[in-house]
Every structure is written in C-alpha cells, then in structure tokens.
Amino acid sequence: MASGKTLTIGIMDAPYESANSTTALRVIDAALKKGHNVNVFTYEGAVNLTMKGQQPHPNPVKGTSVEQEQHPTTKDWVASLFNLASARGVKLDWVNCGLCVDERGAGDWIDGPRRGGPKDFLDASVASDATLVIPTK
C-alpha cells in the first residue's frame, strides 16, 4: 500500500566504479518496497546507469557463458526498480541530468527515466519528505 511519502535521492557515481551505486539502489529498492514514492536525480557519471547499450558478458576466469554468469548490468537493476514501483503502485521518477547525458553520450536509455536538470532536483527535494545526496569521491 502506498504510504504517500516521497524520498528524493541525488547520486553521482558512474556504474561499476563505487559501492555507492550499490547502496543507492538498495535504498531505492527498500523505499519502494515500503510503499514510498522515490525521485532519483542522476548527476555526472550516474547518468550512465540507465544506458540501453550495456551488455552482460561471460566470465573467462570462471569459464561461464553469458547465460551461466548472469552478469548484472545497472540498466537491468534500474529496470527492475521501475517494475517494482509499478507493482507496488508507487512512483519512481528517475531524472537524468541532461547536460551530463549530452557530454557522455548517454542519451539512449531504457524505458522509464526522463531528461531533466538541477531545477528538477530542487523542485523534487522541496516537495519531498526527505532528501539524501550520495556524492562521488
């Protein structure tokens, strides 16, 4: 059941480079499961989290195929979060910072995210019940 509460999260880390990304997705997942709406603002490298062109790969050290390894991509994690939000009847609003997208060529993303900018983050934060910024180092 939807709680009516909204959490806004700002993130910066590019995929696969920092445990911050893992924790951020865990927070979003936990919030959605509790019936909260979540706004995500991706800034800088974090806009790459949703790139449609990400591909899983096999693991030559373990000798596994692509199918066996089931290597996760961040776009699949994020797509799953959108499915979770839909299933729980809550809103996941994922905004990729447009200028950051442009300079990274990260504009071809999965279904769900939208293009935006710092004003979206400010407006989301003001309208939310809580805001958490997870920086990059």
Binding site: G10, M12, Y43, L122, D123, T131, V133, P135, T136, K137
Partner: protein, 127 residues
Amino acid sequence: MPKILNIVETAYRATIEEQDDTVLWLTHMLKNGGADISVLLRANAVNYAVKGQDASGLSFGEAKMTHPPEIDKDVEKMIQKGVPVYLVAEDVNERGLSDADLVSGIKKVRREALPELIDQHDQVWHW
C-alpha cells in the same frame, strides 16, 4: 524554501572535461532556480577560493581545452549573486593559505562551529 548548505570537499576531480567544478556549477544552477543556498568549502576544496588558479594549456594531440575552468572567478560570481560561501579556517591554515591568497567575500568558519552552521540549515548536501 528550505535553507540548503552544499558542502564541497573534493577538488579538481573532473578537470579533464569540466569547465567548472561540478558542484559549484550545480550550486549556481540551483540558485538560479530559486534555491536558498550556501556553500561550505572544506578539505582540498578550500583551494577553490584561492586567487589566480590557472588550468589553461591542457591539450591532447591537436585538441586543446579552449575555455579552462576559472574556479576562483566562479566563487566570486557566486558571492556576488548572494550565495554565502564559507571556508573551514583550519583547512585553510593547514594548507599554508592566508587571507591575502583568497578571493574577497569569503566567510571563514572554525571546525568547532560547523555543527552550528549545519544546524542553521534545513538540508545539508555533502558532495
């Protein structure tokens, strides 16, 4: 509108492509968007308030950075726009900086006063 404090500590991270500091730029944009926002520079980011920073001359092969960041000027512009910019005093001193090295309009705050500064803001975004 909540009072927001942006704490910036990482410095010179993104100069390979950035013509600004990413969080100072974001602060500027948020201010333009109507935010009631202040900035606290700490750790290496206190160097952002030093006059005369020069990142010009970057080139790779024939490709040149034609508009390098001018972060000291960005800090000055921010102050002129009415964004309070604080510096942690001890971080300045530990880096061998004096007031004469810094752009004008900066407000120094001692480490022990940071909790009070934080208390004065509704949101504290630590970048």
